[in-house]
Symmetry: C2
Subunit: 254 residues, 2 copies
């Protein structure tokens, strides 16, 4: 059955994206890969890109051999069986240490709370290079969004995703660390549900849920760095991943 | 274009499910709604059901007029402009109080950490009735899974989803509170990525990500209580939503 059902959401993996180098345009790489696969963007599509391809294109990588870990980083690493150079990078990228136990939970410059400030060594080049988060992933998303407009003529919202751990729950889920072209939270408050009851406290983090879809179709160890989401009725707007970060004064778990 | 792309994930909303009453079989309601809509399950499908329909079918609702709030519930409610009867129910459903500020964050009997123990008054009957979480959502999922097998002959994993707030991040995302028929976490640890680097700390909470897909296609205030996820290659197994709950000894944010 290939007919499309009303209200159906589709997530189409973008494969055969070529190896990424510093200075590359992620938008161009993706459009090229789509052409290669006989695919194209449709009006209404959203693009979700895993952050690693963005970081690589922006040169946000560090050769681990070049990193001289501090005494603090060495001490933490030796106690926890981790790589002192990665710990060092995580500390450098952190604005604040949230928890320091068997794992380093930090707040990044962007306000993201995650393990190791998002510093990652898998899926790069066999463990010689660490990938940092994009310096400003909202800006990265805006550039991709703009370039897609130029190349395709279409307005395509862009989400940059990374997989984060959560409090209280096991396993990682993808979240939106950069967004352009759409609202990140859909606010049901004040709306009436189908029974006429006024809803409250129902702001849905749709950009994070869209990031999760990429988590499912892109996986972790594959060469599928992005996907198209088709059929989701997003709200246009100046969305920013920073709007998904809870302000300190509302944060009960600092 | 109606062709299906390789690796594509599809989420098909299940509409026209009739009003649910205590004693109803959720599996039967859903199969009936599919038939009505000219749809059917395919081999490989996953069913994600929003918890409210399950709670209602199991009679896990409470008439708010019948609730006599304690002094503690009244005091908290008056300070925070909330309904004392809902606060009372949230306290009764809680095993442990995690945070008590402008909102009550509790740990439920199932170990779930969420606002108000998951007690909800929207989407019921105009605010007269509160809906509690299913008493044992893994068991609820198992019953739906079994009944679907009987009615369709197919092995359909079942996820029961509710939308929860998160630490550090704004907005709600759906999570899996009950699961049957599939593994909830996909463990990439020990696997090699596409560059041959051995990955660690990459356990993905796929059941939560699948729940998020339902968050997107079912929305909050619509009468779409479930969706089919097609095209996701799940791992069969005795999955349980309890495996997604971080054990106390590993929890850094108690």
């Amino acid at each position: 059955m290939t007919s499309i059902n009303i209200g159906e959401l589709r997530a189409i993996p973008i494969i055969s994206v070529r190896e990424v180098f510093p200075g590359d345009s992620v938008a161009n790489l993706i459009v090229d890969a789509l052409v290669l696969g006989g695919l194209r963007f449709h009006a209404g599509d959203i693009l979700v890109v895993k952050h690693k391809i963005v970081s690589k294109a922006e040169g946000r990588t560090v050769a681990l051999d070049s990193v001289r870990p501090s005494a603090a980083a060495k001490s933490f690493a030796s106690k926890n069986g981790s790589d002192a150079r990665v710990v060092e990078l995580a500390m450098r990228e952190a604005k604040r240490l949230v928890r320091k136990k068997h794992v380093l939970i930090t707040e990044t410059q962007h306000g993201l709370v995650c393990a190791n400030s998002g510093v990652d060594v898998s899926n790069v080049d066999g463990g010689k290079t660490a990938v940092l988060l994009p310096a400003d992933a909202d800006r990265s998303a805006a550039i991709i969004h703009r370039t897609l407009k130029q190349r395709t003529g279409l307005y395509i919202p862009v989400i940059i995703a990374d997989s984060f751990g959560r409090a209280w729950r096991e396993g990682l889920c993808d979240v939106a660390i950069g967004v352009a072209g759409m609202k990140v939270i859909y606010d049901y408050r004040g709306k009436r549900d189908s029974y006429g009851y006024k809803m409250h406290a129902t702001e849905e983090a749709v950009a994070d849920e869209l990031a999760c879809v990429a988590g499912l179709v892109c996986g972790k160890d594959s060469r599928i760095p992005a996907c198209i989401i088709r059929g989701y009725v997003y709200r246009r707007g100046k969305g920013s991943a920073r709007q998904l970060v809870r302000p300190a004064e509302k944060d009960l778990f600092r």
